[in-house]
Amino acid sequence: MQTTENKGLVIFFYVCIAVFSVICLVPFVLAVSGSLSTESRIAAEGYSFWPRGFTFETYQFLFGSKAEQILRAYSMSLVVTVLGTLTAVLVTTAYAYVISVRNFRLKNFFAFFAYFTMLFSGGTLPWYLLSTKYYHLGDTLLGLFIPYVLSVFLMFLMANYFRSIPHEIVESAQIDGAGHLRIFFSIMIPLGRVGLVTISLFYALQFWNDFYLPLMLVNNQDLYTIQYLMYNMMANIQFLASGNAAQVGGAIIAPPLETAKMAMTCLTVLPIAILYPFLQGFFVKGIIVGSVKG
């Protein structure tokens, strides 16, 4: 009797997880389907899970008349992600190394100096005023990543990795006369590879998805990232509607607004979806290490 009760429970568990997994994917199916539908049928019949009037017209429209703007935003996102991640990883690992050095007197002070910022912050407004008026980060490339290059959480995660590296290796290097810079660059960085990859991925994801910094600091359209372009598109349809009503043979062709939003959604998610299978394992490993001792 007990086994049958258990069997039912187990099947119920499998169903629960399967259903939630499907729910996690369904919205993306909706986006892909929307992007491959025709504008007129979406307007008349609404969105559906299967493309209404299967067509690539929307993508042709985007790559035709909006190609320049989309490509610029795409490359801006790419530049921000690469530059931001490189800078962030360098700044973060260096700081993490310093607080992980065992016999450094001020390591606790530096650790607390970073930790305190997690507890107390000046809030959005002073941050915004300083960034725009004093650091002049408004409408600059730097403004799109510099404020985020030290995530205190990831810094502590990295320091934990460094602490897990056997101290004997460091000691023998010191006996051979290596200084901290040398130890950091030629021992800790290569040995902390796994941690390094993990925090790089977290940073890269953050920079790719960020739209807070462009929202706060950017007005210049040349500096729009793909996420911010997307936001503007959603917030005001004018982006697509303005100056786009192309005249073909006397008839005005309205731009595909609804399907274009979905196509942009797919384009923005695409890089993540392509890289996801390769990277997912690292994230999981990173979260586990970070949560076991964090």
Partner: protein, 326 residues
């Protein structure tokens, strides 16, 4: 460089005398100069984007104008606070929304993450666990803007899937984007959708570390599956749940501006429930330029948030000394 490893030189000198500590600091500067160099970029970033903004809180007592800047603007005394209390209603609404949404996210998010982790722990099929875990984790990688765009295709009045469904069931359409209270439910569901898979990984990792002999002993004693879950698995997770909750309490007054902007596009009809403190500061100060008022609410957010962190830390200390954050 090497003799510093001998413990003798690390013994503290007699504290208190200024000359000694100054000399010690100079010596340390020379000896560990490369360490200071490595920490320098991080220190600069922390000062620029965390510590100096704290000093910017003096704005509360200033009559800010853009030309004179934070430090040059004339003093305003407590005028901003009067202003703050005069529009108390909006401030209270923003506070209520922030705390309410965060509390709901925390309760539902923790519940779903823990439930998923427990269920995964019960399943035996390796490939099923692997595949579903990957799928459930995926939404975590998607920005709120994209989620907002997709939500729109679900919720739009004419074209949204949900209203089509309602219609086909013979019900009347719902105007989701003008129902502030209904939208709270949508935000909570969106938050679960995005982050439950991520949260589950943390709890699942904790469960993987549980000694299997507990389970074996329970099975030999004839415990049913359900008993094993409630008597072993859940208690094993409680310390982590408490720690994660305490960590969350400190952030209770911090809102996710990106989420609200990405999902509601600052729709004025939804503001009664979605106007969180960060959105409020963004709307009043950064878009409309009413700096004085926004600075008062920023100070209030910082101080109140700090008190919450201290309280959470104290609670964590009572519960378990190791859970204490600092």
């Amino acid at each position: 460089m090497t003799q510093e490893a001998t413990p003798g030189t690390m013994e503290p000198l007699i504290p208190g005398t200024r000359t000694v500590s100054a000399r010690r600091f100079r010596k340390s500067l020379r000896k560990d100069s490369s360490l200071y160099l490595l920490a320098l970029p991080g220190i600069i970033i922390l000062i620029l984007f965390a510590y100096l903004p704290m000093s910017g809180l003096i704005l509360v007592f200033k009559n800010y104008n853009f030309n004179d800047g934070i430090f040059g603007s004339p003093w305003a005394g407590f005028a901003n606070f009067e202003f703050f209390f005069s529009s108390m209603e909006d401030a209270l609404r923003a506070t209520r929304n922030t705390v309410m949404l965060n509390a709901l996210y925390m309760l539902t998010g923790t519940f779903f993450s823990v439930a998923i982790a427990i269920i995964l722990n019960e399943l035996r099929s390796r490939w099923f666990i692997k595949v579903t875990q990957s799928v459930m984790f995926f939404p975590y990688f998607i920005s709120w803007i994209i989620i907002g765009a997709i939500l729109f295709s679900l919720l739009d009045y004419d074209k949204g899937i949900l209203n089509q469904l309602l219609q086909s069931l013979g019900l009347s359409q719902m105007d989701w984007y003008s129902s502030p209270w209904l939208f709270v439910v949508i935000l909570v569901l969106a938050n679960i959708w995005k982050s439950a898979g991520y949260g589950a990984i943390i709890y699942y990792a904790v469960l993987q570390g549980v000694d299997t002999s507990y389970y074996e002993a329970a099975r030999i004693d004839g415990a049913s599956r359900w008993q094993i879950i409630t008597k072993i698995t859940v208690p094993m997770l409680i310390p982590s749940i408490i720690l994660m909750t305490l960590l969350g309490i400190g952030g209770m007054l911090k809102g996710d501006l990106s989420m609200i902007m990405g999902v509601t596009f600052l729709n004025p009809l939804l503001l009664p429930t979605t106007d969180i403190i960060d959105v409020y500061v963004y709307r009043t100060a950064i878009r409309s330029g009413e700096f004085g008022f926004a600075s008062a609410i920023t100070l209030y957010q910082s101080v109140f948030g700090f008190i919450l962190v201290l309280v959470a830390n104290k609670l964590a200390g009572w519960y378990d000394k190791d859970s204490k954050l600092f």
